[in-house]
């Protein structure tokens, strides 16, 4: 009886921890993005999705061949960005920016944003906290 109970609880616990361990308000970095695929580019903001639990920044990037690609950059929550001194209005369409981040595992034009740099040199750290992104795991990796 005690053994049975322990087994039931154990199996349930394993199932829960295996499946639901990134139990934060958002998904883990490693579920979608690849730390080995850093991306850096300059572009123009086309849309700012100021959305919980993740904001998304859409950027038009001109490739070396002149073709324009639209990238979606994932960033922290509205609250997190607000605390770093930014509002939705800081990132209006048409703004020229540079982005550092990590591309998605599936190779699509999505990236987890790390740093955003404005034309005047001001920087905004885009990352969420507690998602296991490389810039959190290794201090100084930035």
């Amino acid at each position: 009886m005690q053994t049975k109970l322990a087994m039931a609880v154990g199996i349930l616990g394993m199932a829960m921890s295996g499946w639901a361990s990134p139990a934060s308000a958002h998904h883990a970095f490693a579920a979608e993005f690849d730390a080995n695929k850093p991306v850096t580019f300059k572009g123009t903001i086309t849309k700012m999705e100021w959305v919980n639990p993740h904001t998304w920044l859409h950027v038009d990037v001109k490739g070396t061949d002149g073709a324009v690609q639209n990238w979606a950059i994932e960033a922290g929550t509205p609250n997190v960005l607000f605390r770093r001194g930014f509002k939705k209005e800081s990132l209006l369409p048409g703004t020229e920016i540079a982005i550092d981040g990590y591309q998605s595992k599936d190779g699509s034009h999505r990236a987890n944003g790390r740093d955003l740099t404005f034309a005047d040199g001001r920087k905004l750290f885009l990352g969420s906290s507690g998602t296991g992104a490389p810039y959190e795991l290794t201090p100084g990796a930035k």
């Binding site: 829960m16 639901a20 958002h26 639990p53």
Partner: protein
């Protein structure tokens, strides 16, 4: 008007925009949803384990259920309210999310299980109230409840993942069918 168009309009409403752009409201509602989950799932888990004959075997089933189910019901009410609010913040994306759809289907199944249990074997609970191990039908209901609610928690957690979202094409035809995506 179909649901897709309806949730599309809801997504554009002032209410929905204010909620998903909010600085605090969204996180507070989400936190309440998760805190309450502990009350809801914890209490129903204990009742299910009693039905399975795995815990509190010397306590009458009606005693366990009578003390815990009010907490389960109260928790469920709060979960539905906060869950609906979270849905209204991101209606279209949630509606087309395969994990959200899975969760809704599992919720219906869990509801049916509750209904079968309470209109069936539980009506005769006086006959087996003191039994350490309840009759098979009750054990099955408890087991199904346990599995369904655990799966509901997991699928709820999975809604956050956008692996099968409509804006991530190409997806297989079956995924697009199941999520009402028209790429």
């Amino acid at each position: 008007m179909d649901l897709l168009a309806f949730f599309g309009r809801l997504a554009d409403s002032d209410w929905s925009v204010a909620l998903h752009e909010s600085q605090y409201a969204y996180s507070i509602i989400e936190s309440i949803h998760v805190w309450t989950l502990a009350v809801f799932f914890g209490s129903i888990l204990t009742v299910d384990l009693r039905l399975l004959g795995l815990t509190m075997r010397k306590v009458p089933v009606t005693e366990v259920a009578g003390r815990l189910l009010p907490w389960t019901i109260a928790g469920f009410v709060v979960m539905v309210i906060t869950g609906s609010l979270l849905f209204s913040a991101i209606p279209l994306r949630s509606y087309q999310n395969i994990f959200f759809r899975t969760k809704m289907i599992l919720l219906v199944l869990a509801g049916l299980n509750v209904w079968f249990f309470h209109s069936g074997i539980y009506k005769r609970v006086q006959e087996w109230d003191f039994r350490a191990i309840p009759p098979k039908t009750a054990r099955i209901a408890g087991g199904i409840s346990l599995v369904l609610w655990a799966c509901i928690v997991v699928s709820g957690r999975m809604i956050a993942y956008n692996w099968f979202d409509c804006d991530r094409q190409p997806q297989s035809a079956i995924i697009n069918f199941l999520t009402s995506c028209y790429p």
